[in-house]
Symmetry: C2
Subunit: 407 residues, 2 copies
């Protein structure tokens, strides 16, 4: 195909599709894949396969021939298991046990975000995304035709925080939703219950939706806080609130593609229609595995959380030893977000690091305003690999400083 | 939740989401699920589970721990298997062997359609859909904000056909794409090679895209024609042409949710971005099964096709015997689309039929203009079940005629 023809095709498609940016994480990912032995700390997953009991549930279902179309909303058994899980985790929501009509199964956490975006925002609308943020949520809103307004969070001695005044100042008559991701990928920010209440207050005052991504809620390192604060603790079922979630992180199911969405029960039928016209449902054998994860996955999850906590300490100590590194210990999720003195181009730094030190991390430029000088390192993986990778970094950074004439 | 609150939520969401219609097939589906013993002829799937060799490939992958994130475009092995499959089926495309960069794996045929719609049409654009048509394609375009213009096909003694003049007359300056589904769900129409060439000519003249859904291409009942005519045989890789396809029908994988999209290679990176922001990829273990289906699924497919051909004869004969039925024997796919004299409300007829005769079929009202008085019966299933179900219909229809005073 000639370049002319290629250019014509790109001219010929819808601008929102043409302008969907490549994920800034993918570039390092591809570079790392070409280099066996690279520490894969750029991607949000660990090194363990899904636990055997969860895989076995899918295998049993496949062997039993559960390969037919199924409920648009998801298996009733899985939606009921989601209710049990939420009741166990957060207690009653607005004084009531979880309502199965609020829950629908999705074909991934990303699919949940895509449907949430599609529910609240289209052409002519605006959505607000506090940044730094995982780029996929704003990209999904942009694909729906909405304009994304970034609100940079503030980074200070106490770490990252979202200033409610900054948030409120960004609201316009076109604003339809605020995307809130706490614990945050990439910054590790965990909104306090008070902060969630103030965000909710702003949303209520202005009549806008909150899309709450609490995917990392189980990974919380705050003292005495086993689960990160949730909008479930400050809101009511009658609030304009959509939760998006996934099985990927808690149960090492990143490759499966299954998640869930929680919406006001009045929107159940509408979301079923969106499911029909996007994924048309999720494989039954995946859903059987998801039930097993919810009902019999807590031991594995506890192990994953303990391992992440251990790795977090390793990573913080190694970067402190390297010197010239700015970071705030993350209160949640499993990422360390840091900058390096004298390095203003983290994309360049990340590409050099994966090529020269065999350590792959993601440039902060992938995460929007406020994080441009930072990098994201995932510490969900193997402690030995992480210790080895972080062991290589101080010398490599020091050599780089020397080469740059920095002493 | 009070009715007021429920109404407020529906007021509060994006009109394109609120207005996404429930699939007209789902209503009968739900009614049928409540009645054990119902012949499930409303849905586009057979009664056989996925062949064991295909399921085994997924099981082996799961057992091996292939549960991690993977390539956005799909496994290279699967994309290469798709190239082999296309070369085998259609020979060279534009004189060249299939180009792996044209193929990407999707999280279902529906996902392929959704991305195709998202690629070509947004707010302010129009897409053309010849009807009767499977409702999900126009619904996906509408969700992207596009206006859907239906072009009713003509039904005559020789069956259904799309008049190219009707098609061309529907094109406006806002038209961005024509969705063409041949063999057609629901009508069984198979576009001749000449008809495809004339549609392509219109698209070329007006600079619009064709989205070609050839999902049922292997189910073709025309003499001496093992595979339905394809745009692969009349177009060039440089045409504005997007193919959407699925593993669901050929290999009894309806419940799996895996398909593929074929685009000009220049759009590969753009489609990868769309994958990232919709599904974020497809499970590796599903993709292993898909490779097995392409490489070692022809025997099963031949059996499925032979069974559908047998069932087609059964169904046509039974309806002819019932009397008062108008139909044209389908040239492809595995649906019979028929109307019943004196019955002007097929939705009512279908609901009565599922309740009283235990035969579930889909009302033509689900398929847009031109099919309103028709019903769709799927004959992909078990020959014994189909024979039994069709055996009940003549007496039931006769009793209904008598009750209506029709003699």
């Amino acid at each position: 195909m000639t370049l002319d023809v290629a250019a014509r095709f790109l001219d010929d498609i819808r601008p929102a599709a043409r302008n969907a940016p490549p994920s800034g994480i993918v570039e390092v990912h591809l570079e790392g894949l070409r280099r066996p032995g690279t520490a894969k700390l750029w991607v949000g997953e660990g090194n363990l396969p899904t636990p055997a009991n969860i895989r076995d549930a899918a295998v049993r279902s496949l062997m039993a021939g559960e390969t037919f179309y199924t409920h648009q909303a998801g298996l009733p058994e899985l939606r009921e298991a989601l209710c049990r899980y939420h009741d166990r985790l957060y207690g009653p929501f607005g004084g009531r046990p979880a309502d199965v009509d609020r829950f629908l199964v999705t074909a991934s956490g990303m699919h949940a975000i895509q449907m949430a975006a599609s529910l609240v925002a289209g052409s002519g609308d605006e959505v607000i995304v506090p940044t730094p943020a995982w780029p996929n949520a704003p990209a999904a809103a942009a694909l729906c035709g909405a304009a994304v307004r970034e609100v940079p969070m503030r980074f200070g001695p106490a770490g990252w925080d979202l200033d409610p005044d900054d948030l409120e100042a960004a609201i316009t008559p076109r604003t339809r939703a605020i995307f809130v991701n706490s614990p945050s990928n990439p910054s590790g920010w965990v909104a306090s219950r008070d902060r969630l209440a103030s965000i909710l207050g702003i949303a209520r005052r202005h009549g806008v939706w909150i899309v709450a991504d609490e995917v990392y809620g189980r990974f919380c390192y705050l003292d005495g806080q086993a689960v990160a604060p949730s909008f479930h603790e400050v809101a009511e079922p009658e609030d304009r609130l959509i939760f998006v979630n996934t099985f990927s992180k808690n149960w090492a199911m990143t490759g499966w593609r299954i998640g869930w969405i929680e919406v006001p029960a009045a929107l159940n039928a509408t979301v079923q229609n969106l499911v029909q016209y996007t994924s048309s449902g999720t494989a039954v054998f995946m859903q059987r595995a998801a039930v097993e994860a919810l009902d019999n996955g807590e031991d594995f999850l506890a192990f994953q959380i303990a391992r992440a906590r251990h790795n977090r300490a390793t990573v913080i100590a190694a970067l402190a030893a390297a010197g010239g590194v700015t970071l705030s210990p993350p209160d949640g999720a499993f990422y360390l977000f840091f900058s390096v003195e004298g390095e203003s181009d983290p994309r360049r730094l990340c590409l050099d690091m994966v090529r020269e030190a065999g350590v792959g991390i993601a440039p902060g430029t992938a995460f929007g305003r406020g994080g441009e000088r930072f990098m994201r390192l995932c510490f969900a993986g193997d402690p030995e690999e992480i210790t080895a990778a972080l062991g290589r970094l101080p010398a490599w950074l020091a050599a780089r400083r020397r080469a740059a004439g920095g002493g």
